[in-house]
């Protein structure tokens, strides 16, 4: 499920809605993403910030089950930025 994005690819995604789930315990990032998704337009991109290394797998699975598109991940300082495109 892991797709490493480059800085250029991330820049190409344009404006995103940021969900800062750093420090949230499982299944916190999924829950935060679900709650925030209602404020994201269909086709727009959300990024979930997480300091938990297992979150990207969790969020990737959630994305598929919930009908969205997992775009990939890029590492930041001490956390990961996981990108999702809203599908419905």
């Amino acid at each position: 499920m892991t797709t490493q994005l480059t800085d250029a690819e991330v820049s190409g995604l344009g404006e995103t809605t940021v969900v800062d789930a750093r420090g949230a315990a499982c299944p916190g990032p999924m829950i935060e993403a679900k709650k925030a998704m209602s404020g994201v337009a269909v086709g727009a991109v959300m990024e979930v910030w997480s300091s938990d290394s297992q979150t990207q797998e969790d969020v990737g699975i959630w994305t598929e089950m919930a009908g969205h598109t997992y775009l990939g991940v890029i590492s930041a300082r001490g956390y990961e930025r996981i990108f999702i495109r809203r599908g419905k």
């Binding site: 949230a24 499982c26 299944p27 999924m30 829950i31 993403a33 679900k34 959630w62 089950m65 919930a66």
Partner: protein, 122 residues
Amino acid sequence: MAEGKKFVVMATHGPDNPEMATLPFVMGAAAAAADVEVVMGFQGEGVSLVKSGVAETINAPGFRPLAELLQTIREFGGTFLVGGPCISSRGIVEADLVEGSHVVTAGRFVAEIASATNVLWY
């Protein structure tokens, strides 16, 4: 996509085992976040978890607070079914339970389980 799926998550552990008490709520919240229909069932000592004020006392290390997970499941449309004989034997009445709880008997659990795509039992 998860639409059309239904999980019944049965909780039978009480506050004396915070991790086992919390796990059903972790799975219930994760499933609800993925648009799975979630029915939480409480039997045995598990009924204590939905007695008002009890969830707020349970914080298993490494997990989100149980009360927060409970609220999340409710917010995402989860159902809470509580075994009638189990609350009676503990001196708990329906008015003691958290908002949205429904007291049921074995037949309702059977119906929910029979119509579920998956059942998790803790």
